[in-house]
């Protein structure tokens, strides 16, 4: 027993920040950002917290599913930008929904939503959850170095959610970690201990762009080919590929290597930027609400990022 997805939802802050807005803040321009990253605008939180975005996405997913909050057995939020370390964002969402089930956060950067889904799959396999709410939510703007033009232009804030119900749609999955901090690093708040002898680091995103790009394309292609083989399907039979929206060029390079047409790949990085753990569920929700995913369609999701971590799954809709 695994699960099927019976509802999706997403939420983004109301404030739109365009490339031209950023070019007034740092040495960059619209053409550079479009051609290097593929972002035209992103949503940046002003008053919205990570929990606000997570709650809004969750409420929409529940509404679509027709399931009430008290019928949810498990809430998992994937985030690296929880408003507070304690309580978790999942706990705050649980309280606001009026649910009473176990709720916890997991952290695996941009792959987090798929790590959360795989974690939920374990509960379904044991029969300890019949319905689960899985959310990816980020207020990534709070860990952006707004002086670093190589990373500041990439990211955006948002949240996406899915309601899972016991079923057999989750055909196969892979999660992978290649631990290390030399390619992507986001230091935590260093604290104020008078005894510390560890040098304090800025709690902002550090990323080695070229290595990240190579890792991402490799992980993308390997997960899709590996999972298709495990699921016993041809890559060409996959109807929708929902990739983490890290960089348009990562998606296009992977598409070429997989020899698949661009239109199989859901892309919304132009409007939202890279929303880390939120990007896969936001893209999933957009494709789902567009009505383009038909019953029986094969849907692949794939993500890669800090950790280094990567993950993928193939579902029969």
């Amino acid at each position: 027993m695994s699960f099927r997805i019976i509802g999706t939802g997403s939420a983004v802050p109301s404030k739109i920040v365009t490339n031209d807005d950023l070019s007034g803040m740092m040495e960059t321009n619209d053409e550079w950002i479009r051609t290097r990253v593929g972002v035209e605008e992103r949503r940046i939180a002003t008053t919205e917290s990570t929990a606000d975005l997570a709650y809004e996405a969750a409420a929409k997913a529940l509404e679509m599913s027709g399931v009430s909050a008290d019928a949810i057995d498990l809430i998992i939020v994937a985030t690296i930008t929880s408003d507070r370390i304690c309580p978790t964002t999942a706990g705050m969402v649980q309280a606001r929904l009026g649910a009473s089930c176990p709720a916890f956060d997991i952290s695996s950067a941009c792959s987090g939503f798929l790590f959360a889904m795989e974690t939920a799959a374990g509960f379904f396999a044991r029969g300890t959850a019949k319905r689960a709410l899985i959310i990816g939510a980020e207020r990534i703007s709070k860990i952006i170095d707004w002086k670093d033009r190589s990373t500041a232009v990439i990211f955006g804030d948002g949240a996406g959610a899915a309601v899972l119900e016991a079923g057999n749609s989750y055909l196969c999955s892979e999660i992978c970690t290649m631990g290390g901090d030399d390619v992507i690093k986001i230091p935590a708040f260093g604290g104020t201990s008078p005894f510390t002898e560890i040098e304090k680091e800025e709690p902002v995103i550090f990323m080695e762009g070229q290595e990240t790009f190579k890792f991402a394309v490799g992980a993308f292609v390997n997960h899709i080919t590996g999972m298709a083989e495990k699921a016993g399907i041809a890559i060409g039979d996959i109807d929708h590929i929902i990739p983490h929206q890290a960089n348009e060029r990562i998606i296009r390079m992977a598409a070429r290597r997989l020899k698949l047409p661009d239109d199989k790949f859901v892309m919304n990085i132009d409007r939202f930027g890279n929303t880390a753990a939120a990007s896969v569920p936001i893209a999933l929700d957009e494709r789902n609400r567009s009505g383009r995913i038909k019953p029986g369609d094969l849907v692949a999701m794939v993500a890669f990022g800090g950790g280094l971590s990567s993950a993928g799954c193939i579902m029969r809709w």
């Binding site: 762009g209 070229q210 790009f213 190579k214 394309v217 960089n247 060029r249």
Partner: protein, 73 residues
């Protein structure tokens, strides 16, 4: 020929017409940015079976041909 295969790869990623690329063409003239360099290096890895670092690319197409052939030895 290494250079012919390489020209195809570079044309593919830079958008420049293959016929306009020679051993003397510089990557600066082609407007190759850091991500394009990575894209080219990934295709080189597939095509020639050698792994090169961005620092080994050199200034011209001819430099890169030499780096590939050196790595293949």
């Amino acid at each position: 020929m290494t250079i012919d295969k390489l020209k195809t790869i570079i044309a593919d990623h830079s958008g420049e017409d293959e016929a306009n690329i020679t051993a003397e063409t510089t990557f600066e003239e082609l407007g190759v940015d850091s991500l394009t360099t990575v894209e080219v290096l990934m295709d080189i890895e597939d095509e020639f079976g050698v792994t090169l670092e961005a620092a080994q690319v050199g200034k011209t197409v001819g430099d890169l041909v030499r780096a590939i052939e050196e790595a293949q030895k």
